[in-house]
Amino acid sequence: MTDASLPEAGPLSPAERRTLDALFDRIFPPGRDGTPGAVKIGAADYVCAALAGPYVGFVAEYRAVLSALDAAAAGDYAAAAEAVQDDILAAFEAGTLPGLPQNPDRSAFDLIWRHLREGLFCDPAHGGNRNAAGWALIGFPGAQFGYTAEDQQAGRTITRAPQPMAQLPQDARLPDAPETTDATGPVEAPDVLIVGGGAVGSFMAHRLVQAGKTVVILEAGGRRSGREHAMDELSATAFRNVGGAEKFNDEVPTWRLRPGQPARRAVMSQGLETALGGNSIAWGAVAMRFYEDDFRVRSATVAKYGEDSIPADSTLADWPMSYADLEPYYDTAERLLGVSGHAGGKAAFGRRNRGNPFEAPRSRPYAMPALRTSGLGQMFADAAESCGYHPFPLPAAILTAPYEGRHACTYCSFCSRFGCHVDAKASAQNTVLPKALASGRLTVLTGARVMEILTEEGRASGVAFLSRDGQRHVQKARTVVVATYAFENTRLLLLSRDDAHPQGLGNTHGQVGRHYLTRQQPSVHAVFDTPVNRFIGPTAQAMAVADLSCDHFDHTGLGFIRGGRIAAFNQYLPIEASGVLPPDVPRYGRAWRDFFVAAYARTAMLFIDPEILPSGNNRLDLDPEVKDAHGRPVVRITFDVGENEKKMIPYVQDRAVQIAEKMGAVRIWRRPVLTGPISTHDTGGTRMGDDPETSVTDGFGRVHDTPGLVVVGGSSFVSLPPVNPALTILALSLRAADGILADQAADAEVAA
């Protein structure tokens, strides 16, 4: 690398650049076999270009770090001996190097390490990973249209040359995505106004317009096709911060473990989509129903194990509906999404590659067969079966056959967090939105930031919203639906006040924000001595076991209730994967490089979705200090795992380790029990229930203390079973839509 080839616009001086290059090649050095290191792969070029563009805000931090490195090396880090450089690097990583910039939320090394990995493994279109050299090094084939079943056999080495996304064919022929317009002001008062253009709002709108209602959706973010970020790991993760999450970035919640502690900005591991389509674009698309006893989790537990079995700090409760009440809505939601899967139930016990034997009764089978079983999935299934469990393929809102013009899955490498390049993964945009818009009764206004729910004589009458130009508008409607993420559902109620509701709408009994639940991700990682190629196939193409979920096993004498699901998920993209390390591998140097290069294609993860019990400790409220861009308090999360999780999660982890051993793993490590708020399975906060003193809404999302106001979403959850929440959220939404139809019909009768 000569100075002449550096990007001219880079903000770093030649001396700083020299230090950066030296640092990068110590963090990710060239291989002993002559393979390139970070600088030759283009990681430093990438970072310098990014510092002149999207990362301009980090220039000062970089300067401070480079200066600290130089200072520790008698003024010139690049000129120091390698051993000296490595000592300084170790201090940098540990945060003990004098002069490092301080940031309470993360270290400077965290930031630079992430950027370095972006430069190593991003699509070459972003300026790093020159000639796909980073991908070639680890055997990642890049942006491939898809893979065949043969490609997915275990032990197979994928030899395709890495392909940048610019070379992708557009062989699927997809219809246009629906177009929406930005709000400039209110429109004629509709029958139903929905706050939030995500999956919940879109599915409700579809059901309501089908019944002849007029609907307006106000969406704070921009319009999207639903195919955003296809096959682009960098833009789907880092650059998302200026894209899909434009609203959320300003209002990331703070988090503390217990009341009385200071709260810090939470690390939202999955990001949160706040634009049209919401998380229905980025989701992993596991579309699984809850189990029958999930809806009567408290009474069933008490009946079997006694009142004492409920942990003291838990606010565990039954749901205000039964599985049978929700089944028709599960069915409708599945058909709208196009869910692939194998039906299960008791008949599936002891049968290979069929459905989940614990599955609740279904009124009809899935719309199409499950995603195929990968080599990795088969390894998991064989091992799980030999442990006495009953593996099954997870049902997914990912097509395996043509469905309503959409294309079946190609088993590419980019699914969770990515728009689907062939519309195989369901999103609001490729399912309900076009149909609902075609009715002519739905208006979607993007760029409409709802600030407050308005009431007249105690009844919800509309909302106040800001258009992009900052103008405040009032949109009226007969019924107002709040259908945003759990955080904003809660916050919007707390920030909407009138004389009758001085503590916020729905909050007469102080219930808004209580019973918050968030999924912990205490996975078990496993490295094998042959390739398992987890980078092939959608995330949800996974075999799972539910034998350790719910009350599917006898808890007598175990000291905890409920359990977790174990599944071998796919998707392993190199920017993120290069940050997944066993505890004894450092984040820099030859040890890191050698581990990752060798282990990339051979690493699997047994993902555990533990049931989290609602607890008196855990809640959402308004942060007293941190404000968003509009000067409004962000959500403050108080969350810790309880005694039940502390006993139950290691129990499930032990069994996941057993499965991994039977699969032949040569190296196994586990994540901690507490992993923090996740930003995809956050639930609770506007709990459903029959008793207004212990819940915010009824089972249809009607807010107990505010007529005309409906709140639906993950925030409605009473408990968090070991199942992905999305399908249940959609079923609750469709049921809530029926509640609105019934209420408006009753109102019309009264008026007549």
Partner: protein
């Protein structure tokens, strides 16, 4: 833009090619389409199989075919875009002795028209297409033919049109406007645009546009069904394959997927130009593909879609000035418009400037005016379930 010289209604492959060639010749052009982008659902371009076939064409469009064929190898350079052009040839095969006569006749006719076409049999045929049915006795082979991505071509032509100074009005409803002296232009959304000449190049949608003027055309629309298989190893099938007596076109795409076309109709939904695939047609179409290439039985169907195409009673398009002043038509290219689209674009651009283009003479839009009304009625009402 100051008042345009020409308005083109329709941003499919024909409309974008005409508009691009017009601006290249120095005309001021507005291109309008209600869709947001070219080749949108459920248009003919969206559902075009993208075949670049010279053989077996009508005598009327052979000259245009040859002109276009000379340009396709350089089209990616001309449009400065990846068009997924692949020139693996076209093989029209037969499995019967009687079919061999049909093949020989095609080879003779096309060769007389100056095409480099040959009869291939036995080992030569296997070498060209190792995966086709062992029952294949022979085929008509044109090595320079191939395929491209119609959506990419139309979008690239639009981009080239814009680079050359053309103005596109996309995403707003379009209607023709009529004055005392004929067509005066269009409305696009709330805007009215006037031009001395309006070219309707809107495929099946042309029927509705002209109906707004009280004109009926000897055209009908049908939605043709396309199927796509899951991925196979790329490089299994280089040519596009059709077969005597079989309703099928079969090709392998860059991704390794197989695309199956033909003349299998979908059922109109009654909403605009939308149509839904018919199950029995889909299974017959797929099994026809398996008959021609047994390996397809190992694949799965992954996508089905249909686009509306305008068809004329004699199978040839209607291209030229209408008797109504200010109106020019270029529609009715069903099943054979994509390959000739660059030549049609060039010819129409010249015809608009100078008139009387000899290659367009066979496509006079009024040539079918004298058609027997009963025959026309039968043409319009022919059932979609009967396989054409």
């Amino acid at each position: 833009m100051t008042r345009p010289d020409v308005i083109v209604a329709g941003a499919g492959i024909i409309g974008t090619m005409i508009a691009w060639h017009l601006v290249r010749n120095g005309a001021r052009v507005v291109l309008a389409d209600p869709a947001q982008q070219p080749a949108s659902a459920s248009s003919a371009t969206w559902a075009s199989a993208g075949g670049l076939r010279r053989q077996g064409r009508s005598a009327a469009d052979q000259p245009l075919t040859r002109i276009a064929a000379a340009r396709w190898p350089g089209m990616e350079a001309e449009l400065d875009a990846d068009l997924e052009v692949s020139l693996g040839g076209h093989l029209h095969l037969t499995e019967t002795e009687a079919g061999l006569e049909v093949i020989r006749a095609r080879v003779a006719t096309d060769r007389a028209a100056g095409l480099d076409i040959e009869l291939v049999e036995g080992a030569h045929l296997r070498e060209i297409a190792p995966e086709v049915t062992p029952r294949a006795l022979g085929g008509a082979w044109t090595p320079g033919d191939g395929q491209a991505h119609p959506g990419r071509v139309a979008r690239a032509a639009l981009a080239a049109f814009r680079r050359a100074g053309g103005e596109a009005r996309l995403g707003a409803p379009v209607r023709l406007t009529r004055g005392a002296a004929g067509v005066t232009g269009i409305t696009t959304g709330p805007d009215a645009l006037e031009a001395p000449l309006t070219i309707v190049a809107a495929g099946a949608w042309s029927l509705e546009l002209l109906a707004g003027l009280g004109l009926t055309l000897p055209l009908r629309w049908r939605a043709l069904t396309m199927l796509l298989s899951d991925m196979a190893v790329p490089g299994l099938l280089a040519p596009t394959v059709t077969a005597v007596g079989r309703n099928l076109s079969l090709k392998q795409l860059r991704s390794g997927q197989f695309m199956l076309g033909g003349n299998w109709m979908s059922r109109p939904t009654g909403q605009g130009l939308q149509a839904l695939p018919v199950d029995t047609h889909m299974s017959e179409q797929w099994s026809t593909g398996v008959a021609v290439m047994p390996r397809l039985a190992r694949q799965r169907m992954v996508q089905v879609w249909a686009g509306a195409e305008a068809q004329s009673p004699d199978g040839n398009p209607l291209v030229g000035r209408m008797s109504m002043p200010g109106l020019y038509l270029a529609a009715g290219f069903s099943n054979h418009g994509f390959q000739i689209s660059p030549a049609v674009g060039a010819a129409v651009a010249e015809d608009v400037a100078r008139g009387g283009h000899p290659l367009l003479a066979p496509f006079d839009p009024h040539r079918l005016d004298a058609t027997d009304p009963d025959a026309l009625a039968r043409f319009h009402s022919a059932p979609i379930l009967a396989v054409a």
